[in-house]
Amino acid sequence: MGVEGIGARVVRKEDRRFITGQGRYVDDVKMVGMSYAHFIRSPHAHAKVKGINSAEAMKMPGVIAVLTGQQIVDDKVGNLICGWAITSKDGSPMKMGAWPAMAPETVRFVGQAVAVVIAETKNQAKDAAEAVVVDYEELPAAADIKTAIKPGAPQLHPEAPGNIVYDWHLGDEAAVKDAFSKAANVVTLELTNNRLVPNAMEPRAAVAHYDQAEEHYTLYTTSQNPHVARLVLSAFYNIAPEHKLRVIAPDVGGGFGSKIYIYPEEMVALWASKKVGRPVKWTGDRSEAFLTDAHGRDHVSKAEMAFDKDNKILGLRVKTHANFGAYMSLFSSAVPTYLYATLLSGQYVIPAIYAEVIGVYTNTTPVDAYRGAGRPEASYLIERMMETAARQLKVDPAELRKKNFITAFPYQTPVIMAYDIGDFHASIDAAMKAIDYAGFPARKAKAKADGKLRGIGVSCYIEACGIAPSKAVGSLGAGVGLWESAEIRVNPVGTIEVLTGSHSHGQGHETTFCQIIAERLGVPISQVSIVHGDTDKVQFGMGTYGSRSLAVGGTAIVKAMEKVEAKAKKIAAHALEASESDIVIENGEFKVTGTDKSIALPMVALAAYTAHNLPDGMEPGLKETAFYDPTNFTFPAGAYICELEVDPGTGKTSFVNFVAADDFGRLINPMIVEGQVHGGLAQGIGQALLEGAVYDNTGQLVTASFMDYTMPRADDLPSFQLSHTTTLCPGNPLGVKGCGEAGAIGASAAVINAITDAIGNNKLEMPATPDRVWHAIHG
């Protein structure tokens, strides 16, 4: 490893720009003649739109247009799509209601747009919006799963009777039945996985420009995947054909999944920019983010696990209701199915698994993938189950896990996934050592003497990243392929540009990806730049989510680099009059092994571009592209252990220690990995203790600002003790697995297991607020 190569703790290149306020975000984009959009949003969770009167608003200063849902329908802008088709148990396709970008007839959640005002300034647009009169006829709302599935409940979409989108299943029902019939013990558990609001630091924004001369659109948008946005806007929303639409996602301030989707606002901005003949900017505020960014999680589950007399697991049965909100967001259908039920085997040998998932419409904000997407829900369920089982079976929770760990790889689970590699004993042993698990009973006794209830909780998670291969996901209903592309341009003087379809919105790609180049070619990272986020520059890309950027995007870079190296070696061999097979690359030099003859990369590059002396028949230039489609998911795994104290007087939880032992395969930049784990743990702990989107029974979002929605703050969190155990991923040449979501996937169960251990009551839902914990202690 060089000072900047693989494994080096290189300081992030992009941070100077961000920390000094020089990042360029969508809202920083200014265009000549730019106008501003402000959306008129429904205050009701469910209502008919009987009329929109904009006569007064049109007379107000600076107003350019008031555009309505009916106009967008009349102009044949497509309805929003859901890109993953799920088939119900009975073979029927999922049942989806239409989602127009602005509602022409019916609104189905608070915050849904019905019209937009375009004006010279943002304030003028807001003033005029207040003068637009929308006539609503309120309808009864179904604001939660329980209400929505009751007979006689308010119906959201005629296409989905009973508000059921699908009733899907996975696994072998008969085998599970058989397993339970042989069980010595059965453990049951009911739990809720609370709904979360993503809250990226940068709210969503869009700047759209229509160039009449070229009949060409440009969209700046807060996206995790600008090419996917272009594809969808072009192929499904009829905005413009792909070659007439450029999508740019510049610096983006966090996404966590919420910026994967193509939202109504950017569709409307594009459509409106042509209609009014002016560039249109929309920047959401925090209230709009709370109401309209796709939320995460929101499951209600019942699980049963069967054990034999030796406490070995025989089977698992799970029934989950998943809340989709009012409309099916872009990847929502896949989250509680193929990203959830497929991970229900956890780290354990479970011979038989059967999962049923019922997707439900409610009059709430649409729900989609959020950091972890399905895997946190699976991991939380399994790890709460293991802890509950250990308590019921009166065995040590760590021992029960160890007894059931998968130890031989590859391992085919009964729920599609085939784990390629892992060492679960290594992770749990490292975590137990780090937290001094053996010394816990003495610490608990001492805390008790001080009037505190101390608890310890384990969580052994496994997840699946870099969702792939394309052929397999296609067979499961995905509407896209899940490969990645990269292009490497070695410039004539030897500097390098890496064009990647991955997109960084906080992950540090501008550093990590450079380190891969530095490792291979010996070039300082200052000589390498990463180009991403612009459909005019980058060939194509599937974007960044599901911790896929390094395992898939990074591998595409390696594949492109291999092609560059192969050509460069030919040029070097020609220049040095040596055989190509004798050329090795060391510290930026192409050397003839065993001699002192060498030629530096810039000279090779120059030779490629001057083309004065290239091998016969070789094309000039040094630039290569690769498309890489993985053969399997990658499977990061690890063990988290949390030790905490509960104040019985107030129910307040205080952390004593939180240890993490993760296996992410090879680490390219351990510092960036630690940052990713810290952030993930903060979100996982946030879900367990603090965060929860709450609707009242009329469908109003009660937690619609930071005054009521508890975002984790630094002083809510412990100082994390991180460590790594490593099994290299056999599926890609870097041996990497992905680290972006692990913390959010594994942390919640560790926290709740620790609190329930401390208070001696297993019945506790997330977020475990002081009020809830106090009631769980005192009844």
């Binding site: 304030n123 107030t650 005054m707 009521d708």
Partner: protein, 266 residues
Amino acid sequence: MYETNYHRASSIDDAVAQFAKGTDSKFLSGGQTLLPVMKQRLAAPSDVIDVAKIKDMIGIDVSGDTVTIKAATTHYDVAQSDAVQKAIPALANLASMIGDPAVRHRGTIGGSLANNDPAADYPAAVLALGAVVKTNKRSIAAEDFFKGLFSTALEDGEIITQVSFPVPAKAGYAKFPNPASRFALTGVFVAKTKSGDVRVVATGASQSGVMRVAPIEQALKANWAASALDAVTIPASGLLADIHGSADYRANLVKVMGQRAVTAAG
């Protein structure tokens, strides 16, 4: 935010005069409450009169048995003041727990009292210590100042100029912050005056704003010790209930925070 006219007042008299000129004027002090509300278009004052730079409204004075804090003094300055820390450490401690550093460097005692948020911290100290709120027109005893949620005895255009706190024999404040807003989910201020009177006030708990807690006052009068509250029960009726705390939980907090405040007071 709607358009508004901004005036920086040079003196208390100037502030009052400017206020009278506007059709719907508002004083602006630290702006930590008023500005967010204006930004959300929930308030639309025609004129905003900034009092935060008026020299006569900034500063802390301790003389004899009285701590006087001028209305535009920031929470940070109160928390950091050696004089307050010495005379009424519980008051400095309370100020140090308000919001976050940004809020404490801007927010002021006058703004906090005029706003009388049912979950604000200062009202607990003002009522428990029996402070006097002085305005450009009169002096108002704490008992007469707070009038339920977000309402006070202040008349339109009346400006708080300072608050005078009698130095107690003992005082302590214990706050259980709302996990999201960090205002008081429940905070309890206990004070024993130099004449031996005991006054206990809870904030964040009651549906009618800051309130004295008679059962705790009685118990502490008999025995100034945390354990004296062991047998006290606080009724949940009339207490606030929301997603962060049910009424019975708040009732428990009144007692537990009361005990902790007594322990802090010593």
